[in-house]
C-alpha cells in the first residue's frame, strides 16, 4: 500500500500543480484587466461607461453562478476547440481557467476600490491620463490586495481541480475520489487530504507574506 501511495501521490500532485498553475496564470493575465475595467467603467470611475460596465458585470455574474461541475460539461465544445480533447488533465485546464477569470476579476475589482479616491483625484490634478492612473496609481496601490486576491484564486482553483478529477482529469482530487472514496482506501484518502492541506497552507502563507511585504501602509 505504501508503495502504491509513493508512486501515485507525486504524480497526482504534479498534475494538480499543472492544472492550477495554468488556470491561475490565465486568470492573472485576463482577470486583473477585467477587474480594472470593472472599476474604471463604473459610474464615477475614471472612464465611465455604464453599458460596458453592466454587460461585463452580467457576464461575470452569470459565469460565477454556474456550478463548476455544470460549467465543465457545458463548455465541452469550447474545451475541445482549445485543448483538442475533452477529457484529462489538459482539458480540465480550460474550464478551470474560465471559472478563475471572473472569480479573480471580482476580487481585483474589490481590491482596486479600496484605493482612496483622493489618490485618483491627486493623479488627475497632476495631469495623469486614465491609463496612467491605472498603471501608476491603481495597480501599485492595490498590489497587496491583488496578491491576496490571487492567493484566494489559486486555492479555490485547487478545490475546483479536485472536482475536475471526478470527470477524468488527474490530480489529487482524482486520487482521493478513486482510491479513497470508491475503493474505501482510507490511508490513501487521508494522505491525499493531508497533502492538500499542506499545499493550501503553504500557498496561503506565501501569499500573506508577499502581500505584507508589498504593503507600506
Amino acid at each position: 500500500m505504501w508503495n502504491e501511495l509513493a508512486s501515485f501521490l507525486p504524480e497526482a500532485l504534479w498534475e494538480t500543480a499543472q492544472m492550477v498553475a495554468v488556470s491561475s496564470f490565465v486568470a492573472l493575465i485576463l482577470g486583473v484587466p477585467l477587474g480594472v475595467v470593472l472599476v474604471a467603467t463604473d459610474r464615477g470611475g475614471i472612464t465611465p461607461s455604464p453599458v460596458l460596465n453592466r454587460v461585463l458585470g452580467a457576464i461575470v455574474n452569470a459565469a460565477r453562478s454556474v456550478p463548476f461541475i455544470i460549467l465543465m460539461v457545458a463548455i465541452i465544445p469550447f474545451t475541445r476547440l482549445i485543448a483538442q480533447t475533452s477529457i484529462g488533465t489538459t482539458a480540465a485546464m480550460v474550464p478551470l481557467s474560465i471559472a478563475a477569470i471572473p472569480f479573480l476579476g471580482r476580487l481585483v475589482e474589490a481590491a482596486i476600490r479600496e484605493v482612496p479616491r483622493t489618490l485618483i483625484e491627486a493623479a488627475r490634478a497632476m495631469g495623469a491620463s486614465p491609463l496612467q492612473i491605472v498603471i501608476k496609481v491603481l495597480l501599485p496601490e492595490a498590489r497587496p490586495g491583488i496578491v491576496a486576491a490571487f492567493t484566494i484564486t489559486v486555492i479555490s482553483s485547487i478545490g475546483y481541480s479536485a472536482i475536475a478529477g471526478a470527470i477524468g482529469a488527474g490530480g489529487l482530487g482524482a486520487l482521493g475520489i478513486q482510491y479513497g472514496y470508491e475503493r474505501f482506501d482510507t490511508p490513501v484518502m487521508v494522505a491525499t487530504v493531508v497533502v492538500l492541506i499542506a499545499v493550501v497552507q503553504s500557498i496561503q502563507f506565501a501569499g500573506d507574506r508577499l502581500a505584507r511585504r508589498l504593503s507600506h501602509r
Binding site: A122, A123, R124, M126, G127, K136, P140, E141, R143
Partner: protein, 349 residues
Amino acid sequence: MIDLRGLTKTYGAANVGVEALRGIDLQVERGEIFGIIGRSGAGKSTLLRCINLLERPTAGSVIVDGVDLTCLSQSELRERRRGIGMIFQHFALLSSRTVRENVALPLELAGRPRAEIDAAVGPMLEFVGLDAMRDRYPAQLSGGQAQRVGIARALVARPNVLLCDEATSALDPETTASILALLRDVNRSFGTTIVLITHEMGVIKEICDRVAVIDSGRIVESGRVRDIFLAPHAAITRTFVGEPDAAELSAMLGAALDERGRSGNAVWRLGFSESARESVVTALIRRFALELNIVSGAIERVGGEPLGTLVVEIVADAATQDEARRYLDSVGVRVDVLGYVERTGKFLT
C-alpha cells in the same frame, strides 16, 4: 492669473439638483496668496476644484494664465493641469511609493527623462527640508512631514499656481504654523500664486493677502484681509473673525441689542491698526461730550501687523456721535454701527 466668471455648479438634474456654486466671480492676481473661507458645505471645495477642472462647472468660465480651461480638449487640459499644483487635507500620497518616488510622480506622468527627474526631485526635497527622509514610505511620516512631501510633489513641475485644499486642517497648531510658513516661503521664492481654502480664520490672517468669504455657494464678502478684519460686514464673516454676534453682545451688554434700531445708546465697532491704538479711547473721551463703555476687544496679528477691534457702547447725542465718527475716520479708525441698546440708566454697572 486666475479669472473665474459666472461660475455655477449644480449636482444632479437641473430642476431638483443641489446648487453648490451660484454665480461666482473671482479674480486672483499673479503672485498673491488668496484665501477662500467658508463653513463645510459652503461650496469652497467645489470652487477650488473648478480651478483645475477636477469639477467641471455647470456654467461659467475658468481662465488660468489667459486660457479658458473649459474650452480645452482632454489632452490639452492634462497639459494645463501640469502647470497647476495641488495639495490636499489628507496629503494624498501614494503608500506604495517612497518619498522620493512620490515627488517624482508628476514628472514621470509628464514623460520626462530619468536624469531630469532625479535632478529636479533632490533640490525640491531639500527645499521642504525632507532630504533625509527620501527613502521612507508615507506611512512612516508625521502629518507635517507628509504635507511637506505633498508640497514638494505639487511644486516639482514648477507650476505657476498652487491650490491648497484645507492643507492644514488635519494638522496640530504648531505643525500648521510651520506648513503655513513653508507656503509663504514657496510664494516668495518661486512667485507661485497660491489659492487656499480653509474654515480657519487663523490660516487666512497668517498668510493671505486677500480673502473671499463663501456661504451657500455665493461669495458674500471679499477684499484685503486687513480690511475684512477691521470691518467685517456679513454675519458669517463676523463669526469667522471671532466677533460676538448680536445674541452674545446682548448678553455682554445686559440688554437687548437692536441691530436695526435708531435710538438709545449706540454700539460701535472700532477697527484700528497699531499706530492708532493709543489715542482712540482717550481722545474720544477728552474731545467729545460722551461716555464710553468697552464691551469687548481684541488685538490680532494679521499678516504680521497687529490690528485691534473694540466694541464700545457710546452715550452721546446724535450730533456728538456724528462728530466723533468724523474724527475717528480722520485718524484712520474704522467705525461700524452694530446697533443700539435701550437703557433706563446710562450704564448698568
